[in-house]
């Protein structure tokens, strides 16, 4: 089978390796016969034993963080409650069906409990799926031990699965589901693994087929000709050479500075990103501090975490986004219950307004950690819609002794009124992923709507332009911390629109810096004009691509 699958490129670079298909979960057969009591119990216990041993083995060769996740999962496979329940079920059905029923019972209870428990439900389901496969003698679902270089093919990857990938051997990722801003996409970009999502039909590829993944064009070439591999490799080589000379602060060819920053989401990210040639952190997502906690983390606990994050950035800026939780990312200790539209509900600053105690504790901890580490800490609120909200937040931040306060611009209403919102604060940062979602009324989690979320949508560029115009009237900086800023062509357009900083996955920095250095600010303004004059997203991208400097086009 030769051919081409067109998907969406979400992590740059090219990769060439045999396909490794991530097995989908095995379902128990519908007509599975009941097995006599003792034999059934024995087989069920053996299946769970096998799963626990399998996971332990993976944990032994995983990095610290991943090993901890895997050890906790192995404990579930040894849980007497789960095993006893499966054995009890086996009185009236086959062993695989019994494991399925026992697992489902726990999953349902955990999902009803919500919050912290709902997250554990995913782990229980994973253990159950593995035990079902084991008792049937089928291969385990999910990512098995990777023994050689491969391109991973899956329906979609769970965040825990992506986090535990073997970065040395998984050289490319292709998924059938997902979208431009799904977690797989964001994590793959952070790990620097070329990835294509929404690749229809990729699960039909036979295991072992050589694949060429083009993370820029979003294409998967099946059993490609040698010259094609060479062509992409050539591009990768040209790029590597071009980028070797790319370092230092970001600026246009004529010297207008555009700060180049990184997005991070935890202590490990911070340690890795601290070594990257960047001017600081443009987005530190703090949810990780809260999401797995069963009760609100104390000021002292948070202070300790923030110090570790800030330490690698002494003397550089770190823009911190305060807690961004909502019904889709519920907190065990501040669960407001289910909502029909979590993306439009009580989330971000709206949750902070309902639970100011959480915000105050976070701000106090940030203030202490900032003083202790000497990082230039700036704090911004997510999901701000009104100037009044910005003022409320700014007062609280300043009362806690923090010097610089800003807001995320994700809500079109705030973008259109950015002048008044910015009057209340020191800076703003465009969250292009959510801004696209709200501008186009298209759910980020709905892969089929990905086209609407394309950063080249002229309507989105118009909203960004309005936000930048408002900011210009106040003389205050407007940055970008969405994934869009990491695309070199979009970055040029954003710069032309007046954006003064770009924050992205660390792996995307060098190319963006290179693209900026090859264009004057006036040229960027012209590119922005071309994009906004286009009728469609595709026309906008093509018009810009045709007009960029040849040295940049050659490495795309």
């Amino acid at each position: 089978m030769a051919g081409l699958i067109q998907g969406i490129g979400v992590s740059a670079g090219s990769a060439y390796a045999p396909a490794l298909i991530v097995a989908p979960p095995v379902r128990p057969p519908h007509d599975e016969p009941v097995v006599d009591g003792d034999t059934a119990a024995q087989r069920i216990r053996a299946a769970f034993d096998e799963v626990a041993a399998q996971i332990d083995q993976r944990a032994a060769s995983a990095s610290d963080n991943a090993a901890e996740i895997l050890k906790a999962t192995a404990m579930l496979a040894r849980d007497p409650g789960l095993i006893d329940a499966a054995v009890a079920q086996a009185a009236s059905c086959g062993p695989a069906t019994a494991i399925d029923r026992a697992t489902q019972a726990f999953v349902q209870q955990f999902e009803q409990l919500g919050g912290y428990f709902a997250e554990r439900a995913t782990d229980v389901r994973d253990v159950g799926d593995r035990a079902i496969a084991a008792v049937l003698g089928e291969p385990s679902p999910g990512v098995s031990a990777v023994t050689h270089e491969c391109v991973l093919i899956a329906h979609d990857l769970a965040p825990a699965e992506t986090a535990t990938l073997d970065r040395q051997r998984v050289v490319g990722i292709v998924t059938q589901a997902g979208g431009r801003t799904s977690h797989t996409a964001i994590l793959a970009a952070q790990m620097g693994i070329p990835a294509v999502v929404k690749a229809a039909g990729c699960l039909d590829i036979s295991p072992g087929t050589p694949l060429l993944v083009d993370g820029e064009a979003g294409q998967v070439h099946i059993d490609p000709a040698g010259e094609q591999v060479e062509r992409l490799r050539g591009r990768s080589a040209r790029r590597a050479q071009a980028l070797a000379d790319s370092h230092g602060p970001g600026a246009t060819k004529d010297g207008k500075s555009v700060a180049l920053l990184v997005n991070i989401g935890g202590v490990e990210d911070a340690a890795a990103a601290g070594a990257v040639d960047a001017e600081g952190v443009g987005l530190f997502r703090t949810e990780f501090v809260f999401l797995n906690a069963s009760q609100a983390p104390t000021v002292a606990e948070q202070d300790a975490i923030y110090r570790q994050v800030f330490a690698p950035f002494a003397g550089r800026r770190v823009v911190v986004r305060t807690l961004d939780a909502g019904a889709d990312k519920p907190l065990a200790f501040a669960n407001l219950g289910a909502e029909e539209n979590p993306a439009l509900g009580r989330r971000g600053l709206r949750l902070s307004a309902l639970r100011p105690d959480l915000l105050d504790a976070q701000l106090e901890a940030l203030s202490r950690a900032a003083d202790a580490t000497g990082a230039d800490v700036r704090v911004m609120a997510p999901m701000v819609a009104l100037a009044e909200e910005a003022a409320w937040f700014a007062r609280r931040v300043r009362e806690n002794g923090l010097k610089s306060v800003g807001v995320m611009i994700e809500v079109p209403g705030a973008a259109l009124r950015s002048r008044f919102v910015l009057d209340e604060v020191d800076f703003a940062s465009l969250g292009t992923n959510d801004l696209a979602q709200y501008t186009m009324a298209a759910d980020r989690m709905q892969g089929e709507l990905s086209d609407l979320l394309d950063p080249w949508q002229p309507a989105l560029l118009d909203v960004v332009a309005a936000a930048c115009d408002g900011a210009a009237k106040t003389g205050k900086p407007m940055g970008v911390c969405g994934e869009a800023g990491g695309d070199p062509l979009v970055a040029l357009v954003l710069t032309g629109l007046g954006v003064s900083s770009l924050s992205m996955a660390p792996s995307k920095l060098a190319l963006v810096r290179y693209a900026l250095a090859h264009h004057t600010f006036a040229q960027c303004q012209h590119l922005a004009h071309l994009a906004r004059s286009a009728r469609t997203a595709q026309d906008a991208r093509e018009a810009v691509l045709a007009a960029v400097a040849p040295a940049v086009a050659a490495v795309l």
């Binding site: 849980d79 007497p80 409650g81 789960l82 006893d84 726990f106 409990l113 428990f117 069963s294 009760q295």
Partner: protein, 89 residues
């Protein structure tokens, strides 16, 4: 069979750290102990999943059961543990 009805003392309820400490104590006792909400179906008390699935919050009652010869002693020890605020310790 000996039983005890205990009110959960941990401020976060019976999950995460308090649940892990309780499971460790049950394993240390080395005899079968059951746990459930009053009137519920008893499940193994050394199962983290069973305990978490109770969803027992601070102030909720849970029932412990044990048939071992030293059941009274084992249950007294475990009941005393549950009544403390394990999370604060």
């Amino acid at each position: 069979m000996a039983t005890r009805t205990v009110v959960v003392g941990s401020s976060v309820g019976l999950h995460a750290r308090p649940a892990a400490l309780f499971v460790a104590a049950v394993n240390e006792a080395a005899v079968p102990v059951t746990i459930c909400k009053p009137g519920g179906t008893p499940g193994p008390a050394n199962s983290m999943l069973t305990i978490m699935a109770l969803g027992a919050r601070h102030g909720d009652a849970v029932e412990l059961g044990c048939e071992a010869p030293n059941a009274d002693h084992v249950l007294d020890t475990l009941a005393a543990l549950l009544e403390r605020d394990l999370d604060a310790e």
